[in-house]
Symmetry: C2
Subunit: 407 residues, 2 copies
């Protein structure tokens, strides 16, 4: 059986995602789709709207066959670490292909970009340092360095000043660096201009705009109906009904504020990514802010992107020390969240060859390596009120991998 | 001018307290009453119902002339440390008398108890160790050791198995150990059997029972009217009106729970008083408890008194390390919370001779030594909702000592 791997957040799973899953299979001729999905917290440093279990369910209903959790340490990190973790999991599960979405849908420019930058590495790093010193944020400095450098590369390359291209580029880089055997491919993203019988402008919306709709109008889930597969919409609805909450940062604001107001600057400096004196800004802003939104606005500067600050806040909330995040290169386990019947067949055929230990249940043996994921889940649960909170709290222990065979 | 010192919590100030202030002055012939009062958190490891500023106001309206804050490190500690801090402040402000409440109202038995125990110190410590080893809580073991020992002492002594006598005894001990010059005296406590024109059974109730009334019936403050001086009642009422909250542990439960669920056992062991593996019990109970009350009930064992656990919870909430609480012997500053016009005269006459630095305003210079008190205030404020929370948060900086001259 041949597998294609995809890297996803599904926050939540929508029609655009369903299209990607379908295309990934069609274009590669793979039998199964393996997805590595962020857990309860995401790459932009924010909580997922519903738990990883419900999002795994959406993924399976939407055409995925195996869902593995991207551990917290990768899932919430900047693009290069995120990509390293994801690729190492897909490689460990023997994916023959990696498929990711991009604007142009052509893999060659991504490969050329990688080789071009490899060739001009020293020059690139010098430029990056130069722009960083001038006070630009890391993404901005990287983008400026790239802009200057791209003139020196002959071939068609991708524009790394566009955030959408950065992850694709990092996947290629991780594949090369890890000597992974999978072949990378890319699918042109659906957007509002794209016309298709099932997926047209009126049914495609980004996850961001879906969440915006949900959170702007007092959790008006109904409004998002047409942008999601029915299964996804139902899962979102029943999560809200069951746990009484859809997760977003404001729910965690009292905890973040409490943490900031009970920590000294020195204690905050022990937290991953807290540096350059931002700890003082964070503490001061926490005294006067009345919401997460107003807090973020008070902290924001030219030097720090919104995402970077949000990620720092997440590390403070989860209490992730610099020490615990050192040496992150590749994943160390495969946490299985769910499978379709076809996924199950793949698993049974191949798990003997998997290059990392498979975890389908938390036990004394694996508890230590899962520690950070388990902690993240505990804190994620605190957004709900009792008694639903207690149900969410034990989910990592009580929930077996989801088995989906309704297709 | 002669001063009598009293040690108080005023949680809240009630008719029994007003009687004590009056008697302390009358019996010692002092011109002013200096009180050293716990800040926002109290000796039983709980938040004060209203902030230290409002309680200082109650104290001044109730007859006190100077109110100093007993720093957090003393105010929330066990009886011996609590007493050491309080006595050192009263001594530093040149009190000629200490007056405290007791059942029998006679100082001699307290002095005899101190001398008796001094004489039999080794024996007492052996007995204490013996009972502790048998698994009794510290207070219980101390009480059993005392019971056995008291037979060996000829004179009339106080019954240290009664919690009410323990503090009085510790005051005497602190006076002797610190070589303090003040003379200790004691006043018989008012209780329901005591008859008096102004203070009779129907107007005397303990602070505990007053808080019970307030918190049991959806914050029914009206019910407590007859047990408090009008000034006290009004202050309580206007605090609630202004900040929308009367403080109690349940308000801090989400923060405590979050702290427990984001800490490892090793991190909890760094907290003052966390020992003997109680960290594991605390973490486990925090996963299943839906309120502070149910959490406490889940943690409680024969070995730990309710107060001891509550105090541990407070140290975890405020994030007080073992290191920061080592070497607590005597107070290092006099934080002035308020004064009457007579108190002001006393201050002006005597402050030159005060044995500790007087702080009436937080400044860069004293910020470091006040750090723990300031942190406690920040977290205390989080019980209120925004925007009142922000007002409470800055109170330690914006509020000058209260000046009361309505008498």
């Amino acid at each position: 059986m041949k597998a294609v791997g995809i890297v996803v957040e599904y926050n939540p799973f929508h029609n655009g995602h369903a299209y990607q899953v379908e295309q990934a299979k069609k274009e590669t001729g793979a039998d199964v789709v393996i997805c590595v999905m962020s857990g309860n917290f995401l790459q932009r440093g924010e909580p997922a709207i519903v738990s990883k279990w419900t999002r795994a369910e959406m993924a399976l209903a939407g055409g995925c066959d195996l869902v593995f959790e991207l551990p917290f340490s990768f899932a919430t990190s900047q693009a290069d670490i995120f990509a390293k973790g994801a690729i190492s999991i897909l490689e460990a599960t023997l994916c023959q292909y990696l498929s990711f979405g991009s604007e142009q849908g052509n893999i060659q420019p991504f490969l050329s970009t990688y080789h071009g930058l490899q060739k001009h590495e020293i020059e690139y790093n010098q430029l990056l340092k130069h722009y960083s010193k001038e006070g630009y944020s890391y993404p901005k400095a990287a983008s400026l360095a790239f802009q200057q450098l791209q003139l020196a590369i002959d071939e068609e390359i991708v524009d790394l000043t566009k955030p959408n291209n950065i992850l694709g580029f990092q996947y290629i880089k991780a594949i090369k660096q890890q000597n992974a055997k999978m072949e990378p491919t890319t699918i042109a993203r659906k957007n509002a201009e794209f016309h298709d019988e099932d997926f047209n402008a009126s049914t495609i919306a980004s996850a961001t705009s879906i969440r915006k709709k949900i959170f702007s109008q007092e959790q008006n889930i109904e409004e998002t109906f047409k942008y999601m597969p029915r299964t996804s919409y139902d899962a979102l609805h029943s999560y809200y009904k069951k746990y009484g909450v859809l997760h977003h940062w404001e729910r965690y604001w009292p905890m973040l504020q409490y943490r900031l107001l009970s920590s000294s600057p020195a204690q905050l400096r022990e937290i991953y990514e807290v540096e350059e004196g931002i700890e003082f800004r964070l503490i001061e802003a926490s005294k006067t802010s009345t919401s997460f939104q107003s807090f973020m606005e008070a902290v924001k500067t030219k030097r720090y992107t919104w995402t970077r600050i949000q990620r720092i806040c997440l590390y403070i909330l989860i209490h992730v020390s610099k020490q615990s995040m050192s040496h992150i290169e590749e994943a160390e386990y495969l946490r299985l969240l769910g499978m379709s019947s076809k996924g199950r067949v793949y698993l049974n055929q191949h798990k003997g060859e998997f290059k990392l230990p498979l975890i389908s249940k938390v036990s004394e043996k694996n508890r230590e390596s899962l520690a950070l994921d388990l902690k993240a889940t505990r804190i994620y649960a605190l957004a709900a009120n009792s008694p639903q909170q207690q149900q969410l709290l034990k989910l990592d222990f009580s929930q077996p991998p989801i088995i989906y065979d309704k297709r």
